[in-house]
């Protein structure tokens, strides 16, 4: 498909910018102006609408396809939250209004939403306070680790490293490193959870804390978690909960009750805000009250008269981690979702997410190798290692599924499972949709037996076949104007 630049015709009129109602055109000294206009496309509005509509049709999405991408919680994004986010009173609200004199009064609705979302998340996760500011999950992690550092500094603790299980998301070690800590990796045991004996070996007073996802990326709930928390707390380490997989345990278990001190959530996973083709997300961070003084500023407070205000008066705060109050319109969507579902609706989320995943596990385990054959939580990890011996790799099965009308599961993650295929159906898919996926997987299994060689040809139904990624990296072309194909 052509690029928008290739559809450009010199002097074709596009959007009509209104004529000035204030008279003469101001000239800036040439010293300060660009020598030629930016080479933006010259297309009509219709050209533009067609271009982007056609581009959109080259995507698989939750709206168009089952999207069982493990670890990403690709659930349905309810439309009413879009309507709400677009209400003028939110969409057109300038963030600096809150910082004008009496600014709190100009933004009461927004501050109330931030405050009440914080209260809801506290109850859902069993934490004492939240910052809504982090702009994504990884940003939340970084914020959480910086608070960990601030906590240890305030106590005069000299800490050196953070403990991370080998099944962790890649962002965990990256965040720790940026906050100035080294990391120590702990392997998984035969049950698929962190090996507690190995933890005991590595755990010393130098440990700032432990970062853990529970259930982990194998989709397995670690029921030794309370014991682990005790061990870590005994050396004055902090327990950090990566909330990426919270969807599985909503209403069944809370990180705060498991002994975690810091939690980050991904609103775009558990709380149904859209993934946007890779962002924007939101990654609020919750803490137990011992850590509350270190939360970033500003924080939203509630006065005796029921009004809300921005409070900057936290001398121990780690400071400013974002320009404003978080990805507000994402927070609005998440809060609307929480409000609609209520207590019971939220509890049902985890129940059905887990039921759906176990159903897939049960039906497919006859056909594909299960790394851990036991009850899983919201996702299940298979290994295509046996198929790989026949020359069909996880990636080939993924490409086959595309042709069958499914977005593939996550492949090659977690790194602890060879040829991993990680499936997360979420609670919003129907049994019928899931059955369709299961059947496609079984057909793949049969085809691997009969004709393994054809797998290299998939996908065939998409606008392009497999791209040459080596060429993309060796002959970098990331700017149309710099290098033309």
């Amino acid at each position: 498909m052509k690029l928008i630049f290739e559809k450009s015709i010199p002097e074709r009129p596009g959007f009509q910018v209104p004529r000035s109602d204030v008279g003469k055109k101001v000239k800036i000294d040439k010293k300060y102006t660009r020598s030629e206009s930016a080479s933006l496309p010259e297309v009509s509005e219709l050209d533009c609408v067609r271009h982007f509509t056609q581009l959109s049709q080259r995507n698989y999405s939750v709206d168009t396809h089952f999207y069982p991408l493990g670890s990403c919680t690709m659930k349905y994004n309810p439309r009413f939250t879009e309507n709400i986010a677009n209400i003028r009173g939110f969409a057109c609200l300038h963030p600096l209004l809150a910082q004008l004199p009496n600014g709190d009064h100009l933004t009461q609705g927004a501050l109330q939403i931030l405050y009440e979302t914080e209260q809801s998340l506290c109850e859902i996760t069993g934490m004492d306070n939240y910052t809504m500011q982090p702009l994504a999950g990884a940003h939340g992690e970084l914020t959480g680790v910086m608070m960990m550092a601030a906590y240890h500094k305030s106590k005069g603790n000299k800490k050196k490293y953070i403990i991370i299980p080998d099944s962790a998301h890649g962002t965990n070690p990256a965040s720790a490193a940026i906050a100035g800590y080294t990391t120590i990796s702990i392997p998984s045991n035969a049950e698929g959870v962190m090996d507690i004996d190995k933890l005991k070996e590595k755990l010393t007073g130098d440990a700032a804390g432990l970062m853990l996802t529970n259930p982990n990326t194998h989709g397995i709930f670690n029921n030794q978690i309370s014991e682990i928390a005790e061990l870590v707390h005994a050396v004055d380490g902090l327990m950090y909960y990566d909330g990426a997989n919270l969807n599985a345990i909503l209403g069944r278990c809370r990180p705060g009750d498991m002994g975690f001190d810091i939690v980050h959530l991904n609103l775009h996973k558990t709380f149904a805000t859209p993934h946007g083709g890779g962002g924007p997300g939101a990654g609020p961070v919750g803490v137990k009250k011992e850590l509350s003084p270190f939360l970033p500023i500003s924080r939203v407070g509630k006065k005796g008269d029921g009004s809300y205000y921005l409070n900057y008066d936290y001398p121990q705060s780690i400071g400013y981690i974002a320009a404003f109050y978080g990805n507000f319109s994402i927070i609005v969507r998440a809060y609307a979702y929480i409000m609609l579902l209520g207590q019971q609706g939220l509890q049902e989320v985890g129940d059905h997410a887990v039921l759906n995943a176990n159903y897939i596990k049960e039906r497919l385990k006859k056909y594909f190798k299960l790394k851990y054959d036991r009850t899983c939580m919201h996702e299940v990890v298979f290994s295509a290692a046996p198929e790989a011996q026949k020359g069909v790799h996880a990636i080939d099965i993924a490409k086959y599924l595309i042709d069958k009308g499914f977005h593939p599961p996550t492949v090659y993650f977690p790194l602890t499972v060879k040829e991993a295929i990680m499936i997360e159906p979420t609670e919003t898919e129907s049994k019928q949709a899931i059955d369709g996926f299961i059947e496609a997987m079984i057909e793949a299994h049969d085809l691997i037996k009969k004709k393994p060689e054809v797998f290299k040809e998939f996908p065939q139904s998409t606008p392009i076949s497999r791209p040459d990624e080596v060429k993309a990296a060796r002959e970098l072309n990331a700017n149309y104007f710099n290098k033309k194909l």
């Binding site: 002097e11 600096l96 933004t107 609705g109 009750d257 609005v332 409000m339 049902e348 049960e362």
Partner: protein, 451 residues
């Protein structure tokens, strides 16, 4: 009841039968009784229309009726209807990171086009597929400069947004970095100070154009000086202004970052916004964030993939160039749509209209007795106004008249009690500007002690 769960009772029963269990509870036996929630006390669920009503009610408590003359790096620009319509397509907003390029060419090609328009706007060679926002982009740029130069001094121009400077301080608190800040003289960067502070240890000079006070500048001389000392220059830019202004590329700047909210994104009370970053090709491997590259498929057809992924956290883990996982794809695509709808001439005219309206407002404000508009350097669509009394009081009084008149500089700068910055975008009509100046005149003429 959760209306988004599709399973019927029969479906549930069939699945439980398949699993050989009788209740969903049987799937949660790993969670021990003492690990069960001590409380889960949330309100009852509501119907969709009850929730929508409640949010309309909440939205009404926000003063979006005020006529906006507040900017500070975040602007009230018009968004063409086509942009909102196109970005609402579920194929864009309900997709995820394009891990499987064959079924994500829509997102990938759009991001490639986004990178290209950012390069066209800034005059740089290569851009990434976006970062969280302008503030995090500045932090990432600073870290990138430290990686490239392996030095640790950073010179920060006083004209760089104080909001961003605070963020940068938070992130670098645990790291070995020496920050030095230089003041603004006559609205522009202090060349003399910067030259004095530039030494062999300097990793980067951070500048902003137009700066926080709205002044525009040509930083080519500072860039040349910095390069002589082996330091890089990072510049934060306001993309709408680049419809007219000299590009960072023309000034030989090394890393350009900016807040892309002005490119068709709603103000949204602070986010989501759009950080962008562009640099010279020789620095690409030190650049954080996703990059989409062009290549060919098996049949030789052009297509697009995430490339140079080896820099990223999911591969390099603790050695990654950044801990960033996502970009803000949807916001980047929205900005691309905005720039495509506006087009080459459109953006220029759009920028010119901002300039003209701001100049008109400046002239009208200057006519008021006791009001001084700083003219020591040219500006784009925002400028500093010196009032005869405390700006906070004046702004408060203007709010009562229906105007968000400007942002008080005293919030971030000591001793600037009587100053505010006023932003005038293309959306402000002549009538609004005239009423704004009338009201201000009235307020300044009253003896009301409140002001």
């Amino acid at each position: 009841m959760n209306p988004y769960i599709a399973n019927t009772k029969q479906d549930v029963k069939a699945m439980l039968d398949c699993l050989g269990i009788t209740s969903i509870d049987d799937l949660f036996t790993d969670i021990k009784p003492q690990q069960q929630p001590r409380s889960f006390d949330l309100p009852k669920g509501k119907s969709e229309f009850e929730v929508v009503e409640e949010f309309y009610h909440l939205a009404a408590k926000n003063a979006t009726v005020l006529t906006l003359f507040v900017g500070g790096g975040f602007y009230d620009h018009y968004v063409p209807a086509a942009v909102n319509s196109l970005i609402s397509r579920g194929e864009f907003f309900t997709a995820y990171t394009p891990y499987q390029p064959e079924c994500a060419q829509g997102t990938l090609q759009a991001l490639y086009e986004f990178q290209s328009v950012i390069c066209a706007l800034t005059g740089m060679e290569i851009a990434n597929a976006s970062l969280y926002d302008g503030g995090s982009a500045l932090y990432e740029a600073a870290m990138m400069a430290l990686r490239i130069t392996k030095k640790n001094r950073i010179i920060m121009d006083g004209g760089v947004s104080p909001i961003y400077r605070k963020i940068l301080r938070t992130y670098t608190d645990n790291l070995d970095i020496e920050f030095v800040e230089t003041p603004v003289v006559h609205g522009q960067s202090d060349r003399e100070q910067i030259n004095k502070l530039l030494n062999e240890k300097t990793a980067a000079v951070i500048l902003q154009n137009p700066n926080f006070f709205g002044a525009i500048d040509d930083h080519a001389d500072i860039v040349a000086q910095a390069h002589q000392k082996g330091a890089l220059v990072i510049e934060s830019v306001y993309p709408i202004s680049l419809g007219l202004l000299k590009t960072p590329g023309e000034m030989d700047v090394d890393i350009v970052i900016g807040e892309g909210q002005s490119l068709g994104l709603p103000l949204n009370f602070g986010g989501p916004y759009l950080g962008f970053m562009a640099t010279k090709e020789k620095y690409v491997r030190k650049m954080p964030g996703r990059i989409v590259g062009a290549t060919v498929d098996g049949e030789g057809r052009r297509c697009f993939v995430n490339t140079l992924q080896a820099r990223e956290q999911h591969i390099r883990r603790e050695k990654a160039t950044s801990n960033i996982c996502t970009n803000v794809s949807l916001c980047a695509i929205q900005a691309l749509m905005f720039l495509s709808v506006l087009g080459k001439e459109g953006l220029k005219q759009f920028a010119q209209l901002n300039l003209d309206k701001a100049e008109f407002a400046r002239q009208e404000l200057e006519k008021i007795d006791g009001v001084e508009v700083k003219r020591s350097s040219p500006t784009f669509n925002e400028f500093v106004v010196c009032l005869p009394r405390d700006a906070n009081a004046v702004i408060a009084a203007m709010i009562d008249k229906g105007f968000a008149a400007g942002f008080p500089l005293s919030r971030y700068y000591k001793g600037m009690d009587n100053y505010m910055i006023v932003a005038v975008t293309e959306k402000r009509t002549k009538d609004e500007i005239m009423r704004f100046t009338e009201c201000l005149k009235e307020i300044l003429n009253t003896d009301d002690r409140r002001c």
